[in-house]
Amino acid sequence: MEIPLRKARVSREDEFVVIDAKGVHYRELNELINELVERGERKLRLLNVNGQRYIADGLRCSDCYIEIHGVAGDDLAAFANGPTIVVYGDVQDGAGNTMNAGRIIVHGNGTDIIGHSMRGGEIFVRGHVGYRVGIHMKEYREQVPVLVVGGTAGDFLGEYMAGGRIVILGLERLETYPEIAGEWLATGIHGGAIYLRDEVDEDKLGYGAKTERLSHSDRRFLSEAVGKFCSCFSLNAEEVLNAEFTKVVPKSHRPFAEMYSDSKEG
């Protein structure tokens, strides 16, 4: 039984091109998005999205604005360079994978490896996120990715993190695991920083991670990042910022140096 797929229905609503994605295969949907952007369209509204993968992947367009209504499938905006994407719903695994620039705003929850290898831009998730979020995030000079989560994060947050900033606010908690972040926090971290709006049990820290007092520049960064986050979701930034934060950083920039060579200087 081959499942019949539908062609995307396209219409216009003010300055938006509206695409009804119900039953549309991801390849057709993404080709359509690329085509519309090439033709100069800058505002897209995707309705009835349900699990289509790779939306806006590799899109180079800093003035594009894409609204997604529904569940965005795996690897949303992977390798994207510039677009603003607002998801009214949840995102599946790998949103923002290796994203270079742009902004993803998620009104629902995210699952695993959100912000995987992210190298620039911003991701704001209002709800909870899953495991290995921010794995291998990195930064280079002025390219510093920022990921802010309103709820909690699962285990291995910021695993092998090489740069960038992660902020977990813990505004809502899970019944099954009320901690702000899971076990093995920042395992293998060797760059960047994680800010958690709560105390963090030392037992939860992964190999190579330590906590550190917040500096003035940390507070400036938090007030800016949390301010932006709160304006996306109509939250009171002052209230959210009025709490103790814990900062997690690497113990050294080469935590595994001795594992692969005898020489300590190498």
């Binding site: 499942i3 019949p4 295969h25 699990g51 499938g73 599946q92 495991y131 699962g154």
Partner: protein, 371 residues
């Protein structure tokens, strides 16, 4: 205009799904097929399947054996064995359509059987009827060339083959069956061959398992199971999960929660932090079942006649989403698969690694906190 699907995605993985109607009301196969199809880009066509519970109400008291035969000789030899070991109440071909995507490699037959009282004195009978049927299943799989038992539970059946799940469903007419619990799997075989017997679900008695990932502890688990009389003959890692649940829950009487602690226990450093007497209990379980512990990346759905359980490996290396509506509980690799078939979701969440999500008939679904 309708466009036909061609499955040529490029990032592949297994996908699994399950629905349990908590009031035991039977649902046609349509929804589980739609769930499976929503995840079509995960599979590569080398294995697809379904298991349904409640599909044979007229023969509910008999073991329903679904069998694959490579040829008539295998069928004849199997039937000789069956006639010697059980009473065949009814047998017939499993109704099938020809589909162009799946070459008809096997004869697929079903037998409704019972174990007559007079057989209970036999040497093979041991203690329980289920053990007698288990022994029969292993004898067929192990000793009869070209014969293979796809499922052996009561009032349930497994429908699987080498193909995409939608083609498998079409071939077996899955949409015509009604079940109160359905599970499905689309396969992307990684380490082991794609063949009809290697497609999921894997089944023994009422236990069925679908699995995404790999069981790295397969060797240890297999030796442990073989010491308890199980024979692993399906050339793939997943079957040990079905047998471990049979051993721990059916034969040894552990609860689903305790079995999950044995199979995906917390790490030692987590156990050390537990208060007594929990610490001693968890230590004892880990020591007792060290060889049953499942390692490697996986998400599995395990079902029996009244329960559906979702379980992840201890560090969550594969996706699994759970959800509930007023009538049903859902498990799937992707949220989109659940939303495709249910508009009124009351709760949808990603369970924590190693915490079993237990859905039972007439009960609220719950995630058991172990980790």
């Amino acid at each position: 205009m309708l466009q036909k699907l061609s499955c040529t995605g490029y990032v592949r993985m297994c996908g699994l799904g399950g629905i349990l109607n908590r009031y035991g009301e039977r649902m046609p196969g349509r929804e589980i097929i739609r769930m499976s199809c929503m995840m079509r880009d995960r599979y590569d066509g080398r294995g697809g399947g379904f298991a349904g519970y409640g599909i044979y109400p007229r023969y509910a008291e008999y073991y329903a054996l679904h069998l694959f035969f490579r040829d008539e000789i295998a069928k004849e030899r199997t039937e000789e064995l069956l006639k010697d070991r059980v009473a065949i109440i009814k047998d017939e071909p499993v109704p099938m359509r020809r589909v162009k995507e799946i070459p008809q490699e096997n004869i697929v037959w079903r037998y409704f059987v019972e174990v007559p009282h007079r057989f209970r004195d036999r040497r093979e009978y041991l203690e329980k009827e289920e053990d007698y049927i288990t022994e029969l299943v292993f004898t067929i799989n192990d000793c009869i060339d070209g014969a293979f038992v796809a499922s052996s539970g009561k009032n349930m059946g497994v429908f699987k083959a080498t193909g995409m799940p939608d083609a498998v469903a079409e071939m077996y007419k899955v949409e015509k069956y009604r079940a109160y619990c359905w599970i499905t799997h689309g396969r992307f075989p990684t380490n082991t061959p794609g063949w009809w017997g290697g497609a999921h679900p894997f089944n023994l008695l009422d236990w069925s398992v679908v699995h995404n990932g790999e069981i790295s502890s397969y060797g240890t688990n297999r030796r442990y199971l073989e010491a308890h009389g199980y024979k692993c003959r399906l050339l793939t890692d997943t079957e040990v999960v079905a047998y471990l649940f049979d051993l721990l829950v059916r034969r040894q009487g552990l609860s689903m929660r305790t079995a999950a602690v044995a199979l995906t226990p917390p790490f030692w450093k987590q156990i050390e932090r537990m208060p007594e007497p929990k610490r001693s209990a968890f230590t004892a379980l880990r020591m007792t079942y060290s060889q049953a512990m499942l390692n490697g990346p996986f998400a599995v759905i395990i079902t029996n006649r009244d329960t559906m359980v979702g379980l992840n490996d201890r560090i969550k290396l594969r996706p699994l989403i759970a959800a509930s509506s007023e009538d049903c509980v859902y498990l799937a690799s992707e949220e989109a698969a659940i939303r495709e078939v249910e508009n009124d979701i009351e709760k949808l969440w990603a369970p924590r690694a190693g915490n079993p999500v237990i859905a039972r008939l007439n009960e609220e679904v719950r995630e058991e906190v172990i980790h």
